[in-house]
Protein backbone atom coordinates (compact mmCIF):
# COMPACT_ATOMS: atom_id res chain seq x y z
CA UNK A 1 0.00 0.00 0.00
CA UNK A 2 1.33 3.42 -0.96
CA UNK A 3 1.78 5.88 1.88
CA UNK A 4 -0.93 8.44 2.61
CA UNK A 5 1.07 11.36 1.26
CA UNK A 6 1.40 9.60 -2.10
CA UNK A 7 -2.29 8.73 -2.10
CA UNK A 8 -3.08 12.39 -1.39
CA UNK A 9 -1.02 13.36 -4.43
CA UNK A 10 -2.62 10.69 -6.60
CA UNK A 11 -6.12 11.72 -5.57
CA UNK A 12 -5.31 15.38 -6.22
CA UNK A 13 -3.83 14.63 -9.63
CA UNK A 14 -6.89 12.67 -10.70
CA UNK A 15 -9.28 15.33 -9.42
CA UNK A 16 -7.43 18.16 -11.12
CA UNK A 17 -7.29 16.27 -14.41
CA UNK A 18 -11.03 15.68 -14.32
CA UNK A 19 -11.68 19.35 -13.60
CA UNK A 20 -9.36 20.41 -16.42
CA UNK A 21 -10.24 17.82 -19.05
CA UNK A 22 -13.65 16.45 -18.15
CA UNK A 23 -12.27 12.91 -18.00
CA UNK A 24 -10.30 10.88 -15.53
CA UNK A 25 -6.71 9.93 -16.40
CA UNK A 26 -5.60 6.40 -17.25
CA UNK A 27 -3.14 4.85 -14.82
CA UNK A 28 -0.34 5.32 -17.35
CA UNK A 29 -0.97 9.06 -17.05
CA UNK A 30 -0.78 8.77 -13.28
CA UNK A 31 2.54 6.99 -13.73
CA UNK A 32 3.78 9.69 -16.08
CA UNK A 33 2.81 12.44 -13.65
CA UNK A 34 4.90 10.88 -10.91
CA UNK A 35 7.68 9.64 -13.20
CA UNK A 36 7.22 6.01 -12.26
CA UNK A 37 6.65 2.86 -14.29
CA UNK A 38 3.10 2.13 -15.50
CA UNK A 39 2.71 -0.79 -13.10
CA UNK A 40 3.52 1.54 -10.23
CA UNK A 41 0.88 3.97 -11.51
CA UNK A 42 -1.58 1.09 -11.60
CA UNK A 43 -0.68 0.23 -8.03
CA UNK A 44 -1.30 3.82 -6.92
CA UNK A 45 -4.71 3.78 -8.58
CA UNK A 46 -5.70 0.47 -7.04
CA UNK A 47 -4.43 1.52 -3.61
CA UNK A 48 -6.38 4.77 -3.82
CA UNK A 49 -9.56 2.93 -4.77
CA UNK A 50 -9.09 0.61 -1.80
CA UNK A 51 -8.99 3.41 0.76
CA UNK A 52 -12.76 3.39 1.21
CA UNK A 53 -13.75 6.68 -0.38
CA UNK A 54 -16.86 6.53 -2.59
CA UNK A 55 -14.78 6.16 -5.77
CA UNK A 56 -14.78 3.06 -7.93
CA UNK A 57 -13.37 1.47 -11.05
CA UNK A 58 -15.47 0.09 -13.87
CA UNK A 59 -15.92 -3.62 -13.08
CA UNK A 60 -13.18 -5.90 -14.44
CA UNK A 61 -11.07 -2.95 -15.59
CA UNK A 62 -8.60 -0.44 -14.23
CA UNK A 63 -10.60 2.45 -15.63
CA UNK A 64 -11.96 5.05 -13.23
CA UNK A 65 -15.75 4.95 -13.39
CA UNK A 66 -16.65 7.29 -10.57
CA UNK A 67 -14.68 9.94 -8.72
CA UNK A 68 -17.13 12.19 -6.90
CA UNK A 69 -18.40 14.71 -7.38
CA UNK A 70 -17.70 13.58 -10.95
CA UNK A 71 -18.48 10.45 -12.92
CA UNK A 72 -16.17 9.32 -15.67
CA UNK A 73 -18.98 7.22 -17.11
CA UNK A 74 -21.72 9.53 -18.39
CA UNK A 75 -24.76 9.89 -16.16
CA UNK A 76 -27.99 11.83 -16.55
CA UNK A 77 -26.38 14.71 -14.61
CA UNK A 78 -24.57 16.91 -17.10
CA UNK A 79 -22.48 19.75 -15.72
CA UNK A 80 -21.64 22.98 -17.49
CA UNK A 81 -19.26 25.72 -16.44
CA UNK A 82 -18.72 28.87 -18.49
CA UNK A 83 -20.46 27.31 -21.47
CA UNK A 84 -18.35 24.13 -21.39
CA UNK A 85 -20.34 20.93 -20.92
CA UNK A 86 -17.65 18.31 -20.42
CA UNK A 87 -18.43 16.86 -16.98
CA UNK A 88 -20.93 14.45 -15.49
CA UNK A 89 -21.85 14.20 -11.82
CA UNK A 90 -21.90 10.93 -9.89
CA UNK A 91 -25.52 11.53 -8.80
CA UNK A 92 -28.05 14.23 -8.13
CA UNK A 93 -26.54 15.04 -4.76
CA UNK A 94 -22.97 15.17 -6.02
CA UNK A 95 -24.11 17.38 -8.89
CA UNK A 96 -24.68 20.08 -6.28
CA UNK A 97 -21.31 19.39 -4.62
CA UNK A 98 -19.57 19.93 -7.96
CA UNK A 99 -19.78 23.66 -7.27
CA UNK A 100 -16.86 23.27 -4.83
CA UNK A 101 -14.65 22.25 -7.76
CA UNK A 102 -15.25 25.60 -9.45
CA UNK A 103 -15.06 28.29 -6.76
CA UNK A 104 -16.54 31.62 -7.75
CA UNK A 105 -18.15 30.16 -10.87
CA UNK A 106 -21.67 29.03 -11.64
CA UNK A 107 -22.13 25.31 -12.24
CA UNK A 108 -25.11 24.48 -14.44
CA UNK A 109 -26.77 21.12 -13.90
CA UNK A 110 -28.99 19.71 -16.63
CA UNK A 111 -30.86 16.47 -16.06
CA UNK A 112 -34.07 14.75 -17.00
CA UNK A 113 -36.63 14.10 -14.29
CA UNK A 114 -36.56 10.33 -13.87
CA UNK A 115 -40.34 10.22 -13.53
CA UNK A 116 -41.50 12.31 -16.48
CA UNK A 117 -38.27 12.83 -18.48
CA UNK A 118 -38.93 16.56 -18.62
CA UNK A 119 -35.88 18.79 -18.11
CA UNK A 120 -34.51 20.02 -14.81
CA UNK A 121 -32.10 22.93 -14.78
CA UNK A 122 -30.24 24.00 -11.66
CA UNK A 123 -27.51 26.60 -11.28
CA UNK A 124 -25.33 26.55 -8.17
CA UNK A 125 -22.42 28.73 -7.13
CA UNK A 126 -20.27 28.44 -4.01
CA UNK A 127 -22.92 26.44 -2.19
CA UNK A 128 -25.85 28.64 -3.10
CA UNK A 129 -28.70 27.61 -5.39
CA UNK A 130 -28.88 30.46 -7.90
CA UNK A 131 -31.68 29.09 -10.05
CA UNK A 132 -33.85 26.00 -10.31
CA UNK A 133 -36.28 25.26 -13.11
CA UNK A 134 -38.78 24.21 -12.08
CA UNK A 135 -38.62 25.82 -8.65
CA UNK A 136 -40.34 22.73 -7.23
CA UNK A 137 -37.31 20.52 -8.01
CA UNK A 138 -36.55 18.04 -5.25
CA UNK A 139 -33.80 15.60 -4.35
CA UNK A 140 -34.79 12.03 -3.45
CA UNK A 141 -32.83 9.07 -2.17
CA UNK A 142 -34.68 5.78 -1.83
CA UNK A 143 -32.17 4.25 0.58
CA UNK A 144 -31.70 5.38 4.22
CA UNK A 145 -28.29 6.80 5.05
CA UNK A 146 -27.35 3.78 7.17
CA UNK A 147 -27.58 1.66 4.01
CA UNK A 148 -25.76 3.99 1.62
CA UNK A 149 -22.43 2.24 1.78
CA UNK A 150 -23.93 -1.16 1.03
CA UNK A 151 -25.76 0.35 -1.96
CA UNK A 152 -23.11 2.79 -3.05
CA UNK A 153 -23.40 2.27 -6.79
CA UNK A 154 -27.19 2.07 -6.83
CA UNK A 155 -27.77 5.15 -4.70
Amino acid sequence: MADLAMLDRTYDFIMRRIIADGRAPHYTEIASEFRVAPDVGLGLLRDLMAVGLPNWLHPHTDLIASFPPFNNLPTQYRLGVGGEWKWFAQCGLEALAACWAFPGRTVEINAPCLDCAQPIEVAVRDGRIERAVPATTRFYVSVPVREWRANIVYT
Binding site: L4, L7, A97, T136, V145
Partner: protein
Protein backbone atom coordinates in the same frame (compact mmCIF):
# COMPACT_ATOMS: atom_id res chain seq x y z
CA UNK B 1 -29.79 9.85 -5.42
CA UNK B 2 -31.72 11.70 -8.02
CA UNK B 3 -33.39 14.98 -8.88
CA UNK B 4 -37.09 15.23 -9.71
CA UNK B 5 -39.19 18.12 -10.94
CA UNK B 6 -41.37 17.95 -7.85
CA UNK B 7 -42.13 15.87 -4.78
CA UNK B 8 -45.02 14.37 -6.70
CA UNK B 9 -42.67 13.25 -9.46
CA UNK B 10 -40.42 11.60 -6.88
CA UNK B 11 -43.38 9.77 -5.35
CA UNK B 12 -44.52 8.58 -8.79
CA UNK B 13 -41.06 7.32 -9.78
CA UNK B 14 -41.05 3.62 -10.67
CA UNK B 15 -38.25 3.04 -8.14
CA UNK B 16 -39.84 5.00 -5.32
CA UNK B 17 -39.62 2.88 -2.19
CA UNK B 18 -42.72 2.81 0.03
CA UNK B 19 -41.93 4.36 3.39
CA UNK B 20 -39.06 6.44 2.03
CA UNK B 21 -40.90 9.77 1.92
CA UNK B 22 -38.32 11.22 4.31
CA UNK B 23 -35.78 10.79 1.52
CA UNK B 24 -37.29 13.73 -0.36
CA UNK B 25 -35.64 17.06 0.46
CA UNK B 26 -35.42 20.51 -1.09
CA UNK B 27 -32.45 21.59 -3.17
CA UNK B 28 -31.42 23.95 -0.38
CA UNK B 29 -31.40 21.09 2.11
CA UNK B 30 -29.44 18.91 -0.30
CA UNK B 31 -26.93 21.69 -0.89
CA UNK B 32 -26.48 22.17 2.86
CA UNK B 33 -25.81 18.44 3.26
CA UNK B 34 -23.09 18.71 0.61
CA UNK B 35 -21.45 21.79 2.12
CA UNK B 36 -19.30 20.38 4.91
CA UNK B 37 -15.52 19.87 4.58
CA UNK B 38 -16.20 16.28 3.47
CA UNK B 39 -17.29 17.72 0.13
CA UNK B 40 -15.66 21.15 0.09
CA UNK B 41 -12.13 20.01 0.81
CA UNK B 42 -11.72 17.47 -1.96
CA UNK B 43 -9.50 19.91 -3.78
CA UNK B 44 -7.01 20.84 -1.08
CA UNK B 45 -4.36 18.27 -1.95
CA UNK B 46 -4.67 16.39 1.33
CA UNK B 47 -8.06 14.79 1.00
CA UNK B 48 -7.19 11.14 1.48
CA UNK B 49 -5.36 11.75 4.72
CA UNK B 50 -7.84 14.37 5.96
CA UNK B 51 -11.16 12.82 5.01
CA UNK B 52 -11.60 10.56 8.08
CA UNK B 53 -11.69 13.71 10.16
CA UNK B 54 -14.61 15.10 8.16
CA UNK B 55 -17.11 12.39 8.98
CA UNK B 56 -18.43 13.80 12.26
CA UNK B 57 -19.25 17.21 10.79
CA UNK B 58 -21.02 15.57 7.85
CA UNK B 59 -23.14 13.41 10.10
CA UNK B 60 -23.95 16.39 12.32
CA UNK B 61 -25.07 18.34 9.25
CA UNK B 62 -27.28 15.45 8.14
CA UNK B 63 -29.02 15.53 11.51
CA UNK B 64 -29.29 19.32 11.54
CA UNK B 65 -30.72 19.62 8.04
CA UNK B 66 -33.21 16.78 8.37
CA UNK B 67 -34.32 17.51 11.92
CA UNK B 68 -32.90 14.27 13.23
CA UNK B 69 -34.94 12.09 10.90
CA UNK B 70 -34.16 8.39 11.46
CA UNK B 71 -34.03 8.02 7.68
CA UNK B 72 -30.98 10.28 7.59
CA UNK B 73 -29.35 8.83 10.70
CA UNK B 74 -25.82 7.61 9.93
CA UNK B 75 -24.83 4.02 10.63
CA UNK B 76 -23.65 3.18 14.11
CA UNK B 77 -19.87 2.87 14.13
Amino acid sequence: MNLFRSEEDARRWSEFAPGSEAGIVTLEQAMAIMSTPRHRNRFDGRYVSSSPGYTAAFFAKLREVTGGSPYWEPPAT
